[in-house]
Symmetry: C2
Subunit: 173 residues, 2 copies
């Protein structure tokens, strides 16, 4: 019996943000803070929902993304290239590949050009798994934003893009 399934996701409110800001005697704009906090909450929640979905196919978000990236690139890539493509460290890729290799979805072989390198290869079984998941995966992604019209999606993308730039600027500080 799963005991925590009824976890509620109470969205943070504008009032909460305003109270916090006032408590510390600051002058930040509560609405701006709310945008940031809600975006983070949505991202986290989306991440968890994905994890559950991929779990049903014996994968995880990270493993799925690695597999998909491999297929996008013709089925072969070095761990370093995978890390760059996925935006994670090479150490993380090592772990993901370990798991996928155990399941026979990818294989490792050593590089011919570079004695230090290895190449991760998508196996037939790995490609098969991707095909099995695709319909539901894309259906879910579509359903998630189904409440928005095409124009609204365009607007959202543009605003998100600008926020992403703001995040990028922060990271470089």
């Amino acid at each position: 019996m799963p005991q925590d399934a009824d976890r509620e996701f109470a969205q943070p409110t504008l009032d909460q943000a305003a109270v916090q800001i006032r408590r510390y005697g600051l002058t930040a704009d509560p609405q701006a803070v709310l945008v940031a906090v809600r975006l983070m909450a949505a991202g986290a929640r989306l991440g968890q929902a994905s994890e559950v979905h991929f779990g049903r196919f014996g994968l995880s978000t990270g493993r799925y993304r690695l597999l998909a990236d491999l297929e996008d690139c013709g089925g072969e890539k070095s761990p370093s290239q995978l890390a760059a493509g996925l935006g994670v460290t090479r150490a993380t890729v090592t772990g993901l590949v370990d798991g996928l290799e155990r399941e026979g979805l990818v294989a490792r072989r050593s590089s011919r050009e570079d004695g230090r390198g290895t190449v991760v290869v998508l196996t037939a079984r790995g490609a098969q798994r991707l095909r099995e998941m695709a319909p539901e995966h894309f259906r879910r992604l579509e359903a998630m934003v189904g409440g928005l019209s095409e124009v609204e999606r365009g607007t959202f993308l543009e605003l998100l893009e600008r926020i992403a730039q703001g995040i990028g600027a922060l990271v470089e500080e």
Copy 2:
């Protein structure tokens, strides 16, 4: 010398989405898929940026949120209530409290009303830590969305809200 610091965050493109959809012979809308994928990427990136920020104060996103939630509620709450407020499981709260207690930022005492229960209490040191972090924390949140006007932020919030509903519907499937 950190060796992976130059990790690039290549945003997924509309073309990539379209190619993937076509490969599996599906009919999903690439733009809708792109919105979902970018939102997930932004959330993940924001999460990592936060982690770095909080790390400079010897905390993490989860620990900070627990501390802040505690202060919002007058400084005392049970682990169960904390879990509900933060949207995580009680097991996770146990881990967060363990860490915070080790640093002397919170304390545990057993509940007087319920023999099974404990109460997590914000210590003076914990409150002090929050005060130290507040200015930079809120400045960063504000800076992140600084590229948007007030009207745009309102629009973004509204669209994000509708997407959050879409995510909620998926979770219940």
